[in-house]
C-alpha cells in the first residue's frame, strides 16, 4: 500500500511519524466497505429497479398503444424508457443514502470518523458505490427495454453524452441523499422524505411527456430541474438525435450548444450538491 509521510510537528513533544493512506487507497477502502455492505442487502439493488422496470416494460408499450405515441420521429416507448431513468436513479441514490443513517445508528460511522482520512472521503467512497450501483441498474433497465422492443440508436458520441448525463445526475442525486441523511436523524423520517425527493421531480422533468405539454408555468419550473436537463440529454444521446427535448428547454438553433449547456447545468448541480453534502456531513457528524 502506498502511503504519505506526515510532517513532523514542532513543539516539545517527540516527533511522531506515522503513515496515512493515499487518497486512492483510502477511497478504495471506503468504497470496498460500502460495496461489501451493499452486496449483503440485495433489496438495495433490486427494490429501486422494480418500479422503473414495470414502467418501462409494461406501461411504456401500453401508453404508446393507447395514445398513438408522440406523433414525431421519436419512439414513445423508448422515450418513456429513458424517462424511467429519472425515477430509477433517484430511488437508487436515496436508498443508498439510507445506509449513511444505518452507519450512524449502528455506530460504525464513529470508527470511520476516527480514521486518519479526510471526512470528505467517507462521502466520496459512498458516492463511488452509488455510481456503480446506478450504472448496473440503468444497464439492466435499458437492456430489458431493448429486448422488449425499444429502439435505441447508439453512436459513440451518443454514448458519451448519455454516460456524462447519467453520471452527473447520479452524482447530483446522491449529493441530495447524503445531505438529507446527514440532516435527518431517524430512518423513518428519512424514508418519509423519499416521495418528495425521489418521485416528485420525475413528474415535472418530462419523464413521461415533453415538458412543453405542461402548462407554461410548470414548463418554466421544469427548466430549472437538473433532471429535466439530464433526461433531455440522455434522449438526445439514444432516441432523439434532433434534440427536441433540449430545444424545448433552450429554444436555440444549435443542438450541440444546447447539449453542452444542459450538461453544464447538470454538472453545476452535481458539483454544488457534492460540496454541500461533504460540508453537511462533516459538520453534522462531528458534534
Amino acid at each position: 500500500m502506498s502511503t504519505t509521510t506526515l510532517a513532523v510537528p514542532s513543539g516539545l513533544t517527540p516527533p511522531a511519524v506515522r503513515r496515512i493512506p493515499t487518497a486512492a487507497a483510502a477511497l478504495a477502502t471506503l468504497a470496498k466497505r460500502r460495496a461489501s455492505l451493499t452486496s449483503r442487502t440485495p433489496r438495495q439493488i433490486a427494490v429501486p429497479l422494480l418500479g422503473p422496470l414495470l414502467l418501462a416494460l409494461v406501461a411504456a408499450p401500453a401508453l404508446k398503444a393507447a395514445t398513438g405515441g408522440l406523433r414525431s420521429h421519436i419512439d414513445y416507448a423508448a422515450f418513456i424508457d429513458i424517462g424511467t431513468i429519472g425515477l430509477l436513479v433517484p430511488l437508487s441514490c436515496i436508498l443508498a443514502g439510507l445506509s449513511v443513517i444505518i452507519d450512524r445508528e449502528q455506530g460504525a460511522q464513529r470508527e470511520l470518523l476516527a480514521a486518519p482520512v479526510p471526512r470528505a472521503y467517507l462521502v466520496l467512497g459512498n458516492l463511488a458505490v452509488a455510481l456503480v450501483l446506478a450504472t448496473l441498474q440503468v444497464t439492466v433497465l435499458l437492456a430489458l427495454a431493448a429486448l422488449r422492443g425499444a429502439h435505441f440508436s447508439i453512436t459513440g458520441s451518443g454514448m458519451a453524452w448519455f454516460v456524462a448525463a447519467a453520471v452527473l445526475i447520479t452524482v447530483f442525486t446522491y449529493g441530495v441523499a447524503e445531505t438529507l441523511a446527514s440532516r435527518i436523524h431517524k430512518q423513518e423520517d428519512y424514508t418519509a422524505a423519499i416521495p418528495a425527493v425521489a418521485i416528485l421531480p420525475f413528474f415535472f422533468a418530462g419523464a413521461l411527456f415533453p415538458i412543453n405539454a405542461m402548462p407554461a408555468a410548470l414548463t418554466t419550473v421544469a427548466k430549472f430541474l437538473p433532471l429535466t436537463h439530464a433526461l433531455a440529454l440522455m434522449r438526445y444521446a439514444f432516441v432523439d438525435p434532433r434534440g427536441t427535448g433540449l430545444h424545448a428547454i433552450w429554444g436555440m438553433s444549435n443542438v450541440t450548444t444546447e447539449a453542452w449547456l444542459s450538461l453544464g447545468v447538470v454538472a453545476a448541480f452535481a458539483a454544488a450538491l457534492t460540496m454541500i453534502s461533504i460540508r453537511v456531513f462533516s459538520r453534522s457528524a462531528v458534534g
Binding site: 513532523v8 513533544t13 517527540p14 483510502a26 477502502t29 461489501s36 470508527e111 476516527a114 480514521a115 486518519p116
Partner: protein, 330 residues
C-alpha cells in the same frame, strides 16, 4: 526528519516522562449551552495509563471525543504526539486508536473484515496487517469468532474485537472509553487483564475513562477525577488515597450528617477531610482516632446507628471532592 515506519522498534526513543498527550484549557459547550467540559488541563507521559474517573455526564466521553477529533472543541487545545487535534486532525488520528463506549463495528461484516478495514484505513501494509491480525486474534481469544458476522457476537466478544481492532495499527495513544460498561463481572475482569497485558506488551499510552473505581485503581498510573466538566483532582491513586489516611470511620448518624460534622468540628476533631452524604458521615482517621470521634459525638448528644471502619477507596476521594457517590451518579 525521523524514521518513517510503523514498526515500534524503529521509532524514536521516547523518554517515559515526555508528554505524548497535552491538553490545555480544553472545553466543550454543546448547542443549547450545555457545558460538558470546562477548561481542563492535563498531560500524559508516553507509556502511561491515565484514568479519567467520573460519573456519567461528567465530561469523560466528550473529552475522548475531542481528543479523537470526533467532537469539535469549543476552546483550548490538545496535542497527540505533538499533533494539534484541531489544526492537524488527520495526523493526530494517525497516531491514535479508540474504543468507544458504544459499539462502533460493522455488524454485517465479519470480525476479520472489520479488522482488515481498520488496518487499511490506518495504512498498515497488507503483510503486516495479516501478521498483526493473526497475533491479536490469538491474543484476544477471537479465533473461533473472527470469521463470523459481528452481529452474532455477544457484548464481551464485540468489545474484545474492538480492542483488537484498535491495536492493529500499533497506536501511540489508545483511548478506551468505558471499555467494560455493560459487561458482566467475569468478562469485565477478563478485559481488565487484557488491557493490563496490552500495556505491558506494547507499552502503549492508554487513556481510560471509567466510573468503576476498581478499574482505575487496578490499571492507572495516574487518575484525574472529573466532575461536571472540571478536573477536581489529578494524582497517582495512592497519593489520592493517602490524603484520607489508612483508615476511615463510617458513621450512620440518623439526623442531618452535616450537622454532626459541624458538631465534631466544634469539639476539636479536624473536619477538613470529613464528608457527609445523606445520613452517613465519613471520617478519615488521618489526624484523629476513632475514640476521639466517638467521644466528640457523645458530648454533642449524638448517637450513631451504625459504625464501621475500613480502608479508604477512590470512592471516598471522589465523595470528599464532589459530594456525590460515583455509583449513584453513574
Amino acid at each position: 526528519m525521523t524514521i518513517h515506519t510503523l514498526n515500534k522498534k524503529l521509532e524514536p526513543n521516547v523518554p517515559l516522562c515526555t508528554p505524548i498527550v497535552e491538553v490545555r484549557g480544553l472545553s466543550k459547550t454543546y448547542p443549547g449551552g450545555v457545558e460538558a467540559v470546562r477548561g481542563i488541563d492535563f498531560e500524559i507521559a508516553a507509556g502511561e495509563v491515565f484514568g479519567l474517573l467520573g460519573p456519567n455526564g461528567a465530561g469523560k466521553s466528550t473529552t475522548v471525543g475531542m481528543l479523537t477529533t470526533t467532537i469539535a472543541p469549543s476552546g483550548g487545545s490538545a496535542r497527540l504526539a505533538g499533533f494539534d487535534v484541531a489544526k492537524q486532525p488527520i495526523a493526530a488520528r494517525s497516531v491514535s486508536s479508540v474504543v468507544f463506549q458504544d459499539a462502533t463495528v460493522d455488524r454485517n461484516l465479519s470480525g476479520r473484515a472489520n479488522l482488515a478495514l481498520h488496518a487499511r484505513l490506518w495504512a498498515v501494509t497488507p503483510t503486516e496487517a495479516k501478521a498483526r491480525i493473526a497475533e491479536l486474534v490469538d491474543a484476544l481469544g477471537l479465533g473461533e469468532l473472527v470469521d463470523r458476522n459481528v452481529g452474532s457476537y455477544s457484548g464481551g466478544e464485540r468489545r474484545r474485537l474492538e480492542i483488537a481492532r484498535a491495536l492493529i495499527s500499533r497506536p501511540r495513544v489508545l483511548f478506551l472509553d468505558e471499555p467494560t460498561v455493560g459487561l458482566d463481572p467475569r468478562i469485565r475482569h477478563e478485559l481488565l487483564d487484557l488491557i493490563a497485558d496490552v500495556r505491558e506488551r506494547d507499552e502503549t499510552t492508554i487513556l481510560l475513562t471509567t466510573h468503576y473505581l476498581d478499574e482505575a485503581q487496578r490499571l492507572c498510573d495516574r487518575v484525574a477525577i472529573i466532575h461536571r466538566g472540571q478536573i477536581v483532582a489529578l494524582e497517582i491513586p495512592d497519593a489520592l488515597l493517602a490524603d484520607l489516611g489508612s483508615e476511615v470511620l463510617e458513621l450512620r448518624v440518623g439526623a442531618d450528617a452535616s450537622a454532626a460534622r459541624a458538631a465534631l468540628g466544634a469539639r476539636g476533631v479536624p473536619v477538613d477531610a470529613v464528608f457527609a452524604v445523606g445520613s452517613t458521615l465519613t471520617v478519615p482517621l488521618r489526624d484523629t482516632t476513632a475514640g476521639d470521634v466517638m467521644e466528640a459525638l457523645d458530648s454533642a448528644g449524638l448517637a450513631a446507628a451504625a459504625i464501621s471502619s475500613r480502608q479508604p477507596t477512590l470512592d471516598d476521594v471522589y465523595l470528599r471532592l464532589t459530594g456525590d457517590r460515583l455509583a449513584d451518579a453513574a
